[in-house]
């Protein structure tokens, strides 16, 4: 049984991602995301007895870098890319509320 991705869920996820969607887009994404859930159902239908869960597509682990300093970017060049800078720092609009 395929679970349905409701328009309310689309609006919630869009709000979390700071996306403004039109009603048409909400309806369209609801259909598309429902079909994505359908793919999950396909996987669920498989016999996965004895198959370990995985978080990555590659069978790789312990990829490390040595703790050696590498020169970073030039500050003025970096700040020149920003919409606004002040006093050597990025200037951003006032932030309401706390840092999560």
């Amino acid at each position: 049984m395929t679970a349905e991705f409701t328009p309310e869920e689309v609006r919630y996820v869009a709000a979390l991602a700071r996306l403004a969607l039109t009603e048409e887009e909400v309806a369209s994404y609801a259909t598309q995301l429902t079909s994505v859930l359908g793919h999950i159902d396909t996987i669920r239908a498989l016999d996965l007895e004895g198959v370990a869960p995985t978080s990555h597509a590659f069978a790789l682990e312990n990829v490390f870098r040595e703790d050696e300093v590498i020169e970073g970017l030039d500050r003025d060049e970096v700040l020149a890319q920003a919409p606004a800078a002040e006093d050597g720092r990025f200037r951003v609009p006032s932030i309401l509320g706390e840092a999560p």
Partner: protein, 484 residues
């Protein structure tokens, strides 16, 4: 269970964020350094520029393992997750952290009082940038705009989450104090709360005494010292109790500790739960430390503070059996915290007075801990012998110790430089006789038992020797002459 107020019990769980002392950040080669010019240690990875990819710092992983093992945790295979949120302190709009598969699980700390506090987990994550709110007096809600420095973004952190085993503000402080000592001992952290390399958040709840269900908790942030941690917990517990006794309910929320007003206040404009949409970080592979690596890290761990305190106390006790353990408890903690215990233990083993070695360690040496750790044991022992044999007064010994710590000189050199060679006993005897001869009335009163006049006579000797005579020797000479 002790009560925080009549009829009420307190439950506290602590989350401690500890910056690791690696040379570079967690996922890039930018320098991990405090107090530098803003935005000078940044690169495409820690600025979240498109197309950049993180690569994990091996040393940071090893530091995290050290911390976990020092806290009696199991090191587990682990992965990173993205914690998604929009806030300008993270330019990627997510923080790379560990979620349901952290590197260290299920340990504990034993406090000096004997209380055991469970550690739920100690996981790796990256620190955020630093925002400064401009205008509106620097208050977040009134700010006109904010400035962001990303030097700290991506600095490796280990977040240590305790179980809610803490039941008093004192235990909360003792826990952080002990944790701090352990972190410093591992070499993974400098433990500096005032510089923000150790940050503590407290989950505080109260419940009626005798009940078992935990009350609704509030998370209190922004305590930057052990003292403010204790005060914040006390305040928050009292606030919750008052609310509940008035028939209200505690709202689960994050509250901000204000050091100046001594109160906590709600940080959110409205009640909303964050939905971080954690998912596995696709750009980083899993960490699976081999059994050999874990064993090597475990075996390389230096002795922990509790063990070192035990050794130091045993050494002092063996040299000074009648010592009052309560009276020296703070000195023991200080000496171990500053890493001067090896010096003190070695000095006692070489025959120095136990109480004196500890006292000089906890005071004079503690004010220059780096120099004290480099001090030659022989120099320290020689100095302590000079003091305990009375060849140097306590005041002189303190000055000499300060001088040898500062200059690296031997005690003899420092004594010569400070002019503390003193007056040899024969010369001093002549001076004492001279003073007696010049002050016959005072001497008569001294002989008759007037203790106050002893100070006068001593003062006269000191004046004549320009303070270089040893007071104890003078007192002995005076007593000898009186008794004769």
């Amino acid at each position: 269970m002790t009560e925080i107020a009549p009829g009420w019990e307190l439950t506290v769980g602590l989350e401690v964020h500890c910056e690791l002392q690696s040379a570079t950040k967690l996922f890039c080669g930018c320098a991990n350094a405090f107090g530098q010019t803003p935005n000078t240690n940044v690169c495409p990875v820690c600025l979240g520029l498109p197309g950049s990819l993180p690569v994990l710092n091996r040393t940071a992983v090893e530091f995290a393992m050290r911390i976990g093992l020092a806290l009696n945790c199991h090191v587990e295979p682990s992965i990173f997750h993205r914690k998604n949120y929009f806030y300008p302190d993270m330019p990627k709009d997510y923080q790379v952290s560990q979620y349901d598969e952290p590197i260290n699980l299920d340990g504990y700390i034993e406090l000096p009082s004997g209380t055991r506090v469970g550690i739920e987990r100690a996981h790796l994550e990256e620190d955020t940038g630093k925002t400064s709110h401009m205008g509106g007096g620097g208050r977040i809600h009134d700010a006109d705009y904010s400035l962001v420095d990303y030097n700290r973004a991506g600095v490796p952190l280990v977040e240590i989450v305790s179980r809610p085993d803490i039941t008093s503000p004192e235990d909360a402080r003792a826990y952080v104090s002990e944790l701090r000592s352990i972190l410093v001992a591992t070499g993974a952290s400098d433990g500096r709360m005032e510089e923000g390399s150790l940050r503590v958040d407290a989950n505080v709840s109260v419940r009626r005494s005798g009940t078992t269900e935990l009350g609704t908790r509030c998370e209190v942030k922004n305590m930057n010292s052990l003292r403010s941690l204790g005060r914040a917990i006390e305040y928050e517990a009292a606030r919750q109790i008052e609310l509940l006794e008035d028939g209200g309910r505690v709202v689960q929320e994050t509250r901000h500790w204000n050091e100046n007003t001594g109160t906590t206040s709600s940080m959110r404009s409205k009640e909303e739960a964050f939905d971080y949409r954690y998912f596995p970080e696709p750009d980083l592979v899993s960490i699976a430390p081999s059994a050999e690596w874990v064993t090597a890290v475990r075996e390389a761990l230096p002795p922990m503070p509790s063990e070192r305190r035990g050794k130091l106390l045993a050494a002092v006790r063996s040299a000074s059996p009648d010592v009052d353990e309560h009276a020296i408890a703070d000195q023991i903690v200080t000496v171990v915290d500053l890493g001067i215990d090896a010096l003190v233990v070695a000095a006692i083993a070489a025959g120095a007075d136990g109480r004196l070695a500890l006292a000089r360690g906890a005071n004079e040496a503690a004010s220059r801990p780096e120099d004290a750790r480099a001090l030659k044991v022989e120099s320290f022992v020689e100095l302590l012998h000079l003091e305990s044999s009375g060849k140097l007064s306590a005041t002189q010994a303190k000055s000499v110790l300060a001088a040898i710590l500062e200059s690296g000189a031997t005690p003899a050199e420092a004594i010569a430089k400070l002019g503390f060679e003193g007056v040899d006993d024969a010369a001093l005897a002549v001076i004492v006789d001279g003073i007696i001869g010049a002050n016959p009335q005072e001497w008569q009163r001294f002989v008759e038992g007037d203790e106050k006049v002893a100070q006068f006579l001593l003062g006269q000797v000191m004046k004549q020797t320009k303070g270089q005579a040893n007071g104890r020797v003078v007192a002995e000479l005076l007593a000898l002459r009186k008794g004769a």
